[in-house]
């Protein structure tokens, strides 16, 4: 019953099978593979998987992959959607997110060379969380680099902020930085207060708050 079902959609056979192999090695069962957007939508309809890994660019043309991902998000809120993209453009990621950060991810295809990162993101999304590629988050942080509040953060705090934006759990961030979760929680509440954001115990709401802040949409309360 706790077997995780996944669908992999990519028009390249090599990549499709490669991703499928990483996922099945990592505890997913591949319910179906799709080579274009209509096939993907059909497969999601019939299999109701926990996770759909979607190539942003797929037949029948343009960013049909992104369109399919958005329509899965709208019509099947229980299906996690992880988009694989070759574009380092936060605009795509932010469009995919829409108003919520649950069960969604945007990873660069570069990560296919890092099986562990891909798997970690896949599990996070399938479990209801989010996964935003570190490079995309870095772009967003870069865009806000002239923001005084970001400037007030220490290097370490900025790394924590990026981790939160990527959708990582406190434990995962703490592990990556080699600190205890206790220390991390302290740091994160400092970060939220420095940015003028309300700290929220709910992970997804915290991610959303940080992303909106980075995007420049949220106006922090003083």
């Amino acid at each position: 019953m706790n077997e995780l079902r996944a669908i992999v959609a990519d028009d390249s056979v090599v990549i499709r099978q490669g991703v499928a192999r990483i996922l099945s090695d990592g505890g997913f069962r591949i319910a179906a593979e799709a080579k274009d957007a209509p096939e993907l939508l059909d497969a999601v309809e019939s299999h109701q998987p926990h996770l759909a890994v979607v190539d942003i660019r797929m037949p029948p043309g343009g960013n049909a992959g992104l369109g399919a991902a958005l329509s899965i998000r709208a019509r099947h809120p229980t299906v996690g959607v992880l988009v694989l993209s070759q574009f380092l453009e936060p605009e795509y990621a932010l469009r995919l997110l829409g108003a919520g950060v649950d069960r969604v991810g945007y990873l660069l295809k570069d990560r296919l060379g890092e099986a562990r990162e891909l798997l970690e993101a896949a599990h996070r999304v399938a479990a209801g969380g989010s996964a935003i590629d570190p490079a995309v988050v870095a772009e967003l942080v870069r865009a806000r680099r002239r923001d005084d509040r970001i400037g007030r953060l220490t290097e370490r705090e900025r790394e924590v902020l990026a981790g939160i934006a990527e959708g990582r759990s406190n434990r995962s961030i703490a592990e990556r930085l080699g600190i205890t979760t206790k220390t991390l929680e302290g740091m994160s509440s400092t970060i939220f207060s420095k940015l003028g954001l309300e700290d929220d115990p709910d992970v997804n709401r915290r991610v959303l708050a940080v992303l909106l802040y980075l995007q420049g949409v949220a106006t922090p309360q003083d």
Partner: protein, 588 residues
């Protein structure tokens, strides 16, 4: 002077001449004097009317007519009537003034009298002379030995001494002024261009002669009055001959003016109005009428060759054949085969070959010019369209390239990364030298860099986000990557044609790149707005300025792309005042 005004003035002068002649007849003036006086004065009237008719822009007509009127005042002098005689004596030769004015006016392009002071001084001197003659002289009271002299009832202060002083001074001054005016006029003629010289030398010759005689006349008068002896003793008949020569030279002035004016007209001939008409309305309607008027052949028809063969009449009716015969002659216009047009006309026109040749030449030039203009316009249209197509094709090509890179090379790199990842997993599980593991890690790292570089390269060629999401997100992405802060405002509804979006995007991209490289600006602003059938792009920074579109190939290329789409591209970059680049591209 308008023609009706000239006519009215001429009638007045003629009526006045009638009165003076009648007075002359009544007082028994000699017939030969009366006839000559009337003929010479009449020439001023004729010339004045001619000038008003042929050169209405010049005030010469009015001046000549006024001279005529003044001429006849002098005719009073020989009458036996005391008042009339003295009025005539007092106001004789005022036409000097009008003649002097005419000579000074003729060569002035703006028809303004210069130097005004000279003419004014002459008028004052003549007025003073008249006043002296009217008020101071009474031959009966002053010199009782003059038996046939009529008394001057107007003389209020008869005083011979004062009268003489007045005569000497005023005549002396008039002499000097007349000579000065003649010199000014003749110098002006010398300085004039060859055309003006050719047209005006007869007037100036006659005028110079008349002024010379006038000066001699007044000098003689002043001398005689002052010394009671003549300046030069002339034996008869020379005294009379010189007196008449002065009159004749004066009368030659209007004649010479008329001759000069007529000569200018005959040089232009009937070709002038025709050329003017062709210049005004080209080969459109009215050309046939202008031809008929110029050649004086109401039966003339203009027949034009039709592109693709055949002929058409002025009204556009097809004309079957163009054969001479039936008492008609055909003259071709242009040497091509078929010629541009042909004239079907009265064979008698062949008797005036120069006129026919000249008219046909003007017509040929006009028609050829029109044909060339149409060709050039057509070529320009074709070039404009093909330029827009080329820009469109380039955009298409860049987009295709970007797609190929993403879907081809980049996919391959990702596939390689996957394979490498599998290999690394396998190595992880096996017992292999650390060296091999490190090498695989290094390969993975290189591969990541290659993927990153390829992505940036493809992005520079044509960003996918522009294709997928449009100008707004693409420009936002540019602003985010800029090293100087960029304030972005994009107000567009929906998507625009690809070529326009790309050109707008690359305009912003190039402008921001320049700003980052050279401007040392603290802030840049980007505005992309739509309205009035065009999309407007403005990129401004507060940096150093001094950007030159002629030097930067990037700006030059952008200007080319924008104008190829029928748009406008302006760079304002005064040194020290930042740079502002504006482009407007019409949206079909």
């Amino acid at each position: 002077m308008t023609r009706p005004a000239a006519l009215l003035l001429a009638l007045g002068v003629v009526a006045f001449a009638g009165v003076t002649t009648a007075v002359g007849i009544a007082s028994g003036a000699p017939a030969d004097f009366l006839v000559l006086d009337a003929v010479l004065g009449g020439m001023f009237v004729v010339a004045g009317l001619g000038a008003a008719w042929l050169r209405p822009a010049l005030p010469a007509g009015a001046l000549l007519l006024i001279s005529g009127g003044l001429w006849f005042i002098g005719s009073y002098a020989p009458s036996g009537q005391p008042v009339v005689t003295h009025l005539g004596f007092a106001f004789e030769r005022y036409y000097y003034l009008a003649l002097a004015a005419l000579l000074l006016l003729l060569l002035e392009a703006d028809h303004v009298l210069r130097p005004r002071a000279l003419i004014g001084a002459l008028a004052v001197a003549m007025g003073a002379r008249s006043a002296g003659r009217l008020l101071l002289q009474d031959p009966v009271r002053l010199s009782p030995d003059c038996t046939d002299c009529p008394a001057n009832p107007l003389a209020l202060w008869p005083d011979l001494g004062l009268f003489r002083v007045s005569e000497v001074i005023t005549n002396g001054v008039i002499t000097v002024l007349v000579v000065a005016i003649a010199i000014v006029a003749l110098r002006r003629l010398r300085a004039a261009g060859p055309v003006a010289r050719r047209a005006n030398w007869p007037v100036f010759a006659a005028g110079g002669l008349a002024m010379g005689f006038a000066a001699g006349d007044t000098l003689e008068y002043a001398w005689t009055t002052a010394t009671d002896a003549p300046l030069i003793e002339f034996a008869e008949p020379w005294a009379a001959v010189f007196g008449w020569l002065g009159f004749v030279a004066t009368a030659l002035v209007p004649l010479a003016f008329l001759v000069g004016t007529l000569r200018m007209r005959s040089m232009a001939g009937p070709l002038a109005p025709f050329a003017a008409e062709v210049a005004k309305s080209g080969s459109g309607a009215g050309l046939g009428d202008a031809l008929r008027a110029a050649l004086g052949d109401p039966s003339l028809e203009l027949v034009r060759s039709v592109p693709g063969g055949g002929w058409a009449s002025e009204t556009g009716r097809p004309v079957d054949h163009l054969e001479p015969g039936g008492g008609r002659a055909v003259t071709s216009v242009g040497s091509g085969e078929p010629p541009l047009a042909a004239l079907v006309h009265d064979p008698a026109l062949r008797d005036q070959p120069e006129l026919l040749d000249a008219v046909v030449t003007v017509l040929r030039l006009a028609l050829e010019n029109e044909r060339l203009e149409a060709e050039v316009r057509e070529q320009l249209r074709a070039v404009t369209e093909s330029r827009a197509r080329i820009v469109g094709a380039v955009e298409q090509e860049r987009r295709r390239l970007e797609r190929d890179l993403h879907d081809g090379a980049q996919q391959r790199l990702v596939a390689v990364a996957l394979r490498l990842q599998e290999a690394r997993s396998a190595v992880e599980a096996a017992t292999v030298p650390d060296e091999l593991r490190r090498r695989l890690d290094a390969i993975a790292e290189e591969l990541g860099i290659a993927t990153h570089e390829l992505r940036e390269f493809a992005r520079g060629i044509h960003p996918a986000i522009l294709t997928d999401e449009g100008i707004g997100p693409a420009v936002a992405s540019l602003a985010r990557r800029s090293t100087i802060p960029v304030d972005v405002l994009v107000e567009l509804e929906g998507r625009l044609p690809m070529a326009i979006e790309s050109t707008a995007y690359f305009t912003v991209a190039e402008a921001l790149t320049n700003a980052q490289r050279y401007s040392q600006a603290n802030l840049a602003t980007v505005r992309v707005t739509a309205g009035e059938g065009a999309v407007r792009i403005e990129i401004a920074d507060d940096g150093l300025g001094g950007a030159d579109p002629a030097l930067g190939s990037g700006l030059r290329g952008l200007a080319d792309r924008v104008t190829a789409l029928g748009g406008a591209f302006v760079v304002d970059s005064e040194r020290g005042h930042g740079t502002r680049i504006r482009a407007a591209i019409p949206v079909p």
